[in-house]
């Protein structure tokens, strides 16, 4: 069996480092990277001020008014990470990028060459610092999860001692906030305590996704052991008539090729866990990089990595010409069922496979899954994301949203409507949020109904009266035994939904 021992090279707070490098911001000011409203990464100086990950942006700014914030940009992270990955590769062949900021290398090569893991680590850190000016840390252990945690602590865990290394660590080291919360409430405060719970009890008590976290806590390798070397014909290659030189063209090529690769894999019920990206330029320069994913890649996941890599090559490398051919090769695949092992419970396996199959037929955007979001209108409160993408709300649904309706229509619409009083004059909404007259007739698509009752108007945004806002308001109308939701925008009525 292959030696699972890994070296993990991590650049702490990478999103912050990349943002500072991109903007030339000095590292002695408190810096944070935010995604929407949430802090995703902080600099050491910011942490000293009490800023933490997952904190709300506003709370952080209140705590530390001089905090400099940057928007989260995975592409920027990847672009500036490429030189670091190259520096590691110069000393240790066979590197795999896990995500920007973290590289994994099979430990055997560099340890054999430099004599010991400690010496290999020292050389790698030095080499990265001299070539890129970036600070890095190295750790070694028998699983990727443990090696990453070891890198955070600059530790070399001796072979076979990985479970002991993990035992005293807190459960918060698992990247699963809900599970961590639950474990803490149950009094399981360390990874060791969680690891001692029998695996079948974890599956029944906490559900399928928790079993993956349980494997991590026990220090077992991340993926099921039945991983195989894929057949070479699964790789997809594209030769461009016009060499790709610009990042936007590269992004487009990445999307198309990723979809082809995914179709190839989905048709065989496979999913990719290590993705090789090869490019050849017009002047026959060869570029190659392997990405390793903690979980089997979704179609979107493949496209993201290809785009990031191309961006890194095109922006950072001194290429003498554009990219002529691009090849995506699944370096390691697992049965498509493994996709559920990571993301869902065992019972969901068939569902996951069916949805992937349909995505193979219609493309990633053909299957959508809803996320309930904050907001007021029935459309605004639902965000549809391609299946397999992250399902996180962008606006907090638990915030107060004045003007939010008590009930949402089961059918949405967007049709012009006419709401008239008994004299056939259009009913309007005043600045004081009142109707100008009693509505009597509602006409939609040429059909007129008798209005029996109405409710509202509700404001569409809280700055209803601000002069620079387009006034918009909603009313519920009952007409001919049916109930409708109307919205008034730009002095006109539209049907927004039917309560059928």
């Amino acid at each position: 069996m292959k030696d699972p021992r890994l070296l993990a090279v991590c650049c702490p707070d990478w999103p912050v480092v990349a943002a500072c490098t991109a903007t030339g911001t000095a590292l002695h000011v408190p810096v944070a990277v935010v995604d929407g409203n949430e802090i995703v990464s902080t600099s050491a100086v910011a942490r000293k001020e009490g800023i933490r990950r997952a904190m709300r942006r506003r709370a952080a700014e209140a705590m530390c008014p001089e905090l400099v914030t940057f928007e989260h940009d995975p592409q920027r992270d990847a672009r500036f990470f490429e030189p670091v990955a190259e520096a590691v590769e110069e000393l240790a062949p066979g590197i795999e990028v896990v995500h920007p900021g973290l590289v994994a290398v099979p430990a055997r090569g560099p340890v054999g060459y430099f004599g010991s893991a400690e010496q290999a680590a020292e050389r790698i850190v030095d080499h990265i610092a001299t070539h890129t000016g970036t600070e890095a840390q190295v750790g070694a252990a028998d699983s990727l999860f443990a090696a990453t945690k070891a890198a955070h602590r600059n530790m070399i865990v001796p072979p076979g001692r990985t479970p002991e290394f993990l035992r005293p660590l807190g459960v918060h080291e698992l990247d699963a906030p809900e599970l961590v919360d639950l474990l803490r409430r149950l009094g399981l405060k360390t990874l060791g305590a969680f690891a001692d719970v029998p695996e079948n009890a974890v599956a029944t008590r906490f559900g399928g996704p928790a079993t993956r976290q349980h494997r991590l806590a026990r220090g077992v390798p991340e993926r099921p052991l039945d991983k195989r070397r894929p057949a070479p014909e699964l790789a997809v290659t594209e030769t461009f008539d016009e060499p790709v030189e610009r990042v936007d063209a590269a992004a487009f090529a990445a999307k198309l090729l990723s979809e082809r690769l995914h179709e190839n894999l989905a048709a065989r019920s496979l999913a990719c866990t290590r993705l090789g990206i090869h490019a050849r330029t017009e002047n026959d320069e060869e570029l190659q990089r392997v990405w390793r994913a903690a979980e089997p890649l979704t179609p979107r996941g493949i496209a993201d990595r290809v785009r990031w890599q191309l961006d890194g090559w095109l922006t950072r490398e001194r290429l003498t010409s554009g990219i002529r051919t691009l090849t995506l090769e699944p370096v390691e695949v697992v049965d498509g069922t493994a996709l559920q092992l990571g993301l869902w419970g065992h019972d969901d396996e068939r569902a996951v496979r069916a949805l992937l199959h349909v995505q193979g037929l219609l493309g990633p955007d053909g299957v959508l899954t809803p996320v309930i979001d904050g907001g007021r209108g029935p459309r605004e409160q639902v965000r549809l994301v391609p299946w397999g993408d992250e399902r996180t709300p962008t606006r907090n649904p638990d915030h107060p949203w004045p003007g939010r309706l008590t009930r949402a229509p089961a059918t949405l619409a967007d049709d012009p409507a006419a709401l008239e009083d008994e004299n056939g004059r259009e009913v309007g909404v005043t600045g004081r949020l009142e109707l100008t007259a009693q509505p009597k007739k509602l006409t939609i698509r040429g059909r007129t109904r008798e209005v029996t009752a109405w409710a509202g108007p509700w404001p569409v945004d809280e700055r209803w009266w601000a002069p620079d806002r387009h006034r918009a308001a909603r009313v519920q109308v009952q007409a001919d035994d049916q109930a409708f939701l109307l919205i008034r925008r730009d002095q006109r009525w539209f049907l927004e939904g039917v309560y059928d």
Binding site: L368, P400, L405, R407, T411, W465
Partner: protein, 247 residues
């Protein structure tokens, strides 16, 4: 409000002897997927039997309500060909939307897409018109794959046919009320043990809808009504108070 005696009895878990076509083992082994209380009385098996085809007509809320019990219980549902589906209403009716997949546009050849879904999804609702021959093939596929096929609209010989005769809401009171309580009068019919027509009045709303919290601004009633944004808050706050009192 009046509700048919059958429905209230079935809510208590009591079924007429003639309807005992499914056993408790069927429920326990997952051969029958659960539905919300009142709907159980409409279905011959007290739930949605795997492999069966159910047609729903006249109300999108009825379709969504049918998905609620099973998705909340861990089943997956897909809705094909309904781009205008109100997902928020689905959530309000109890559908676990994290296990809801939408295929709004199945393309010019929806057959393979629906067949693929039936292979792995517990409940597949189909809202696009299909040629009868394809529809029959999909009925057979659902039976073979132990999925529940829910046809939204006409379908050749479904096992159960649910029709919303009327959909009504609590009366609005010209600005003082809002839509809260929905009542759907449903007639069921179908083949075999489902053949005898039943009528049930379903009620949604009342307690199960969580009232949204409304930020009541500071009391500024002494200021002119056109004072600005606060007006909206004030109205919303007033509505919230009206809402909290039982009608």
């Amino acid at each position: 409000m009046s509700r048919s005696a059958t429905a209230s009895l079935s809510e208590l878990g009591v079924n007429p002897a003639s309807e005992l076509t499914s056993t408790t083992t069927d429920h326990a082994t997952g051969r029958v997927l659960p539905v919300r209380g009142e709907l159980a009385g409409l279905l011959p098996w007290g739930g949605l039997r795997r492999g069966s085809t159910v047609s729903v007509g006249g109300s999108t809320s009825l379709l969504l309500a049918l998905l609620a019990g099973a998705t909340a219980d861990g089943c997956w549902a897909a809705v094909v060909g309904l781009p205008q589906l109100g997902v928020l209403a689905a959530a309000e009716l109890g559908v676990a939307v994290q296990r809801l997949a939408l295929v709004p546009r199945p393309g010019s050849d929806p057959g393979p897409v629906i067949a693929a879904l039936l292979d792995g999804i517990d409940l597949v609702a189909v809202a696009c018109p299909l040629p009868p021959s394809l529809a029959r093939r999909l009925t057979a596929r659902a039976r073979q794959r132990k999925a529940v096929l829910i046809a939204f609209g006409a379908w050749p010989s479904p096992d159960v046919e649910l029709t919303a005769e009327s959909v009504s809401w609590n009366a609005l009171d010209d600005g003082a009320e809002t839509l809260r309580r929905q009542q759907i009068a449903v007639r069921s019919g179908g083949r075999g043990s489902a053949g005898r027509a039943k009528n049930v009045l379903l009620t949604f709303g009342e307690e199960e809808i969580e009232l949204p919290l409304v930020a009541g601004g500071p009391d500024r009633s002494d200021e002119p009504a056109d004072a600005g944004p606060d007006r909206a808050d004030e109205l919303a706050a007033r509505r919230a108070t009206t809402r909290e009192q039982p009608a």
